[in-house]
Symmetry: C2
Subunit: 199 residues, 2 copies
C-alpha cells in the first residue's frame, strides 16, 4: 500500500500557511513521500455552498486567533492578519501547478505564503509575483506565460476535478489511498494512517 | 491565573461525543478543574448563519468518517451513524443544565451520548430519557419537571448568552480565562494554555 501522501492545497487558504511550513520536514523524517497538488478549492466550495467565513465575523475572528496560536505552537512566524481573500484570477495557484510539475513547488509555496503572511504581499499580484519568481531563480515572463497557457489551466482543472471525486472540499487535505484528512490539524492523523498502511 | 477550564458543550453536537468520553480523565490527570457548561449552541449558530452541514452532503459525510477515525484513535466505541439532528425541544440539554448544577453532569452526558451513538436512542426523547434517568438513580418525573421549569430555562439562556459574549460559536469549546478553543481537537491546546497560565 501507499508510502505516499498527497497534499492537496490551495494558495489562499489560511490554515495552509501552517502546512506549507511544517509538513514536508515531518514527512521526510518519517520516510513518507509527499506529493504537492495545488487545486482550486474555492471553485469546489462555491459549488457546494460551503462558505465558512463569508458573513460570519465571529467565526472569522476566531479562525485568525486559532491560526496565530497554532503558528506559535509550531514556531512558525505570525505578525498580523494579512489581506484576505486573495488571488482572484488564480494566477498564484496556476504557477503552483507549473511548479509542482517542475519540482519547485515547496519553495514557491513557502515563499508565497511568507510574503503574504509576513509582508502582506498578496499571492497572485503580478508585480509581486515577478519579483518573487526572480528571487527563486525563475524567469518571470516565461513562467507566467506558461501558467497562463492552456496546458497548465487544463491541469489545474483536472486536479480540481480529481480532488472533487475524492470527496475533498477544503484546503489543506491529505490523501492516503482513498482516505482523506482535511485540515492542517489532521496531518498527524494522515501520517499515522500512511505509516500503518506500510506494514 | 486559571487552573480551570470551562467545557462549553451542547448535546446534539457530533464531535462532543469524543469530548464527553475523554476530556474529564485527562484534565483530572493534569490537575486541571473542568466545569461542564451546557449551552444552546444551535441558537447561536442559527443567529450567526453558521450551518456547517445543512445542504452540504460532502462535508457531512466526511465529518462522520473523521469522527469515526478519531473515535478509533481514542479507543472510544463507534458503531454507525446515529440519527441527527436531535433534541428539537431542548429537553436533553436542559436536563444537562440541571445535572451540572447538581454535580451529575459528566455521568449524564456520557450516558446520553452512549445511548445516542451506540443504540440510536435520540437525546431528548422523553420516553428514553425517563429510562436513562432511572438508571442514573434520578427520579424521572421530578427531574424532567425541574428541567422544564423557569429556573433551568433561564439558566440555559444565560449560559448561552455568556458563551456568545465570549465569542463561542460551536460545541465543544474549551475556555481558559478569555481564551477560547473550539473543537474536540483543540482540547490539548486548551490544556497546554491552562497549564502555562499556572506558572
Amino acid at each position: 500500500m501507499s508510502r505516499e501522501l498527497d497534499f492537496f492545497f490551495y494558495i489562499g487558504s489560511t490554515y495552509t500557511y501552517l502546512s506549507v511550513n511544517r509538513v514536508a520536514k515531518i514527512a521526510a523524517h518519517e520516510g513518507i513521500g509527499l506529493r504537492w497538488r495545488p487545486f482550486h478549492v474555492r471553485a469546489i466550495m462555491i459549488e457546494q455552498n460551503n462558505r465558512p467565513f463569508v458573513g460570519k465575523p465571529v467565526k472569522l475572528k476566531y479562525m485568525w486567533r486559532d491560526l496565530e496560536r497554532r503558528a506559535m505552537r509550531y514556531g512558525i512566524p505570525f505578525k498580523s492578519i494579512p489581506d484576505y481573500p486573495v488571488d482572484p484570477e488564480g494566477l498564484a495557484n496556476r504557477v503552483a501547478v507549473l511548479a509542482a510539475e517542475e519540482g519547485w513547488c515547496p519553495e514557491y509555496a513557502r515563499a508565497t505564503y511568507r510574503d503574504w503572511f509576513l509582508e502582506n504581499k498578496a499571492p497572485g499580484d503580478p508585480e509581486h509575483l515577478r519579483l518573487m519568481l526572480s528571487r527563486l531563480g525563475k524567469d518571470p515572463d516565461s513562467t507566467i506565460s506558461r501558467a497562463n497557457g492552456e496546458t497548465i489551466r487544463s491541469r489545474y482543472d483536472s486536479e480540481t476535478e480529481h480532488a472533487k471525486q475524492l470527496g475533498i472540499f477544503g484546503s489543506p487535505t491529505f490523501v492516503c489511498d482513498t482516505e482523506i484528512f482535511w485540515g492542517d490539524d489532521r496531518f498527524e492523523d494522515a501520517m499515522e494512517w500512511a505509516k500503518s498502511r506500510q506494514r
